[in-house]
């Protein structure tokens, strides 16, 4: 450990590639997410951002390349095994149990984390410790008042917060947030930003987001992805000044 020139990153991908047929969606991506990072991944539609999240989280298997978590190669591990090691993702489109309450949604995750979900003997609701933990988490993120409401009855902003709360219930060390504010009305975006800003500092956060206001408020580092490749990586100041980014990401061209 001491001899290494660099400490292992929270997440590191090397030469990561993913192709669907002849179509290359992720093209030799080398990416480092440092411990405790607030790192945004931006890029135009179809740049392969969500695919990248799917590859890192294990929902998709890469065509080639490796993914390591804290220096350990996890490329061959299943999504469940990566979750056990603290690598958690959220979804761009809510994947909540709409008929269940907020508390139950988070409770499912907490139960799974404690390794209790395989227990076919003990009644699900009888584990008070799990429920209390889930409830405490909801209090922390400001969802306590909604704990017993069914997801389908919640305003969309609150649903998005629940999406993050479920991830927090899994004790993440690395958190991949896929457009946490997508579809949230302008008035409620602040809630999401507050929630992200209050995440414990030791969690490494990778954020995919289109809304630059959010990106510039939260991110300390930004990677720009286009057509599956890393175009540039740098601080927010670097990125906002880069002419290449302005051209590719904003479609700016000199008027002819």
């Amino acid at each position: 450990m001491t001899g290494g020139p660099t400490t292992p990153a929270a997440i590191e991908t090397r030469q990561l590639c993913k192709t669907f047929g002849a179509f290359v969606v992720t093209d030799t991506v080398d990416f480092r997410l440092e411990h405790g990072a607030r790192h945004a991944l931006i890029g135009p539609n179809g740049a392969g951002k969500t695919t990248f999240v799917n590859l890192v989280s294990g929902a998709l298997a890469p065509t080639s390349g490796t993914i390591s978590l804290n220096g350990a190669d996890v490329t061959a591990l299943s999504q469940a095994q990566r979750v056990k090691r603290g690598l958690i993702r959220t979804f761009q489109i809510n994947q909540l149990f709409r008929k269940l309450t907020v508390l139950e949604n988070v409770g499912l995750a907490v139960t799974e984390r404690h390794g209790l979900a395989g227990n076919a003997w003990r009644p699900a609701g009888s584990n008070r410790a799990v429920l209390d933990e889930a409830f405490a988490l909801l209090e922390r993120v400001g969802l306590a008042a909604d704990a017993l409401r069914v997801i389908a009855d919640l305003p969309y902003g609150r649903q998005r917060m629940t999406e993050i709360a479920v991830a927090l219930g899994l004790n993440p060390k690395v958190l991949l947030l896929d457009e946490p504010a997508a579809g949230v009305p302008t008035g409620d975006v602040g809630l999401i930003i507050d929630l992200i800003e209050q995440l414990p500092a030791d969690i490494a956060v990778m954020l995919i987001e289109h809304d630059m206001a959010i990106v510039f408020r939260v991110a300390k580092r930004i990677t720009v992805l286009t057509e599956g490749r890393v175009l540039i990586e740098g601080t927010p100041a670097d990125i906002s000044q880069d002419p290449k980014v302005r051209e590719v990401y904003l479609g700016e061209r000199k008027p002819r």
Binding site: S57, A59, S78, Q79, A80, R82, V83, K84, I88, R89, T90, F91, Q95, L96, F97, K99, L103, E104, L108, A109, T111, E112, R113, H114, G115, L116, A117, G118, N119, A120, W121, R122, P123, A124, G125, S126, N127, R128, A129, V130, L131, D132, E133, F135, A136, L137, E139, A144, A147, L148, V166, A167, G169, L170, N171
Partner: protein
Amino acid sequence: MTSELSKTSPPASDATTTAAMDNFARAHRLSPLEALPWLAAVGAYFVFPDYLALGSQILATIIFALSVDLLIGYTGIVTLGHAALFGTGAYTAGLLAANGWGDPVSGLLIAALVSALVGFISGALILRTHGLTLLMQTLVVAALLYEVANKAGRYTGGGDGLQGMSVWPVFGQFRFDMLGKVAYIYCLAVLFVCWLAMRIVVHSAFGRSLMGIRENVARMHAIGTPVERRKLFAYTLSAGLAGISGALIAQTTSFVGLGVLSLERSGSILIMLIIGGVGQLYGAFIGVPLYMIAQDRFATIAPVYWYFWIGLFMVFLVLFARGGVLGILTRLTQRKRGAS
């Protein structure tokens, strides 16, 4: 793990929240309504002494329906070949009894184990596929076993059925009688145990995670659920239950024919379950008796019409009464509640 749990803040203080969470924690407690099927079953023993043979069949078939419900209703795996596991249990019990081991209880247990093993192996192979392909695979597994039983006539009797079963008294004490009293009580007792097991499973954290898989696989993967392993466990459990059901029917009728492995068997159990209602534990207790009693009445009067009417009824069911009888009852009670 304990350190994780103790680290959390003290339980919710709010009184209403606490009460609601208590309710939630009690969701698995028994309700008085759940005594109904058992009262009915015991009552039927005394009221219809001439129909105990049919009664035993119904009780045993409820177990089969429960096993299918665990897959379709709770886990969301649609199977068209569950007769494979039912038939495996039936032939296991039958072969044991025909070859000198007629003890019913141990025969039942062995049948359950063999079926569970077949379920585990076939499940490990086919559960990797999804949707139509999985449906096909379940069908093909059943067809495969049917063909094995059909062609291994030397052991199974092939199309003529397994001959010469000799089933011993239950616990060496209670001989199966002509009226079917012992058979009925035996089936009822086994059903009770299976129901209890099933009830515990579906209310457990494991059962919850099965429902999670049914509702949203992507989410379950993302919270770290080993989805494939859970599905395989559910499949194996379900296979064991199906095996018990098949073995019960083999033991109480002293006969096993190729029909136990047929597509018709896989299809009809699906129908019985759906008539009752899927994924609610008690659908089996409603659908199976309704179907089998109607079949018994109709089929003796006009067997030709039986298929026609049951088919028509199914079409009606899927068009107008999704959720089966339980679904209709739920809707009625909700409407009443909404009106008041």
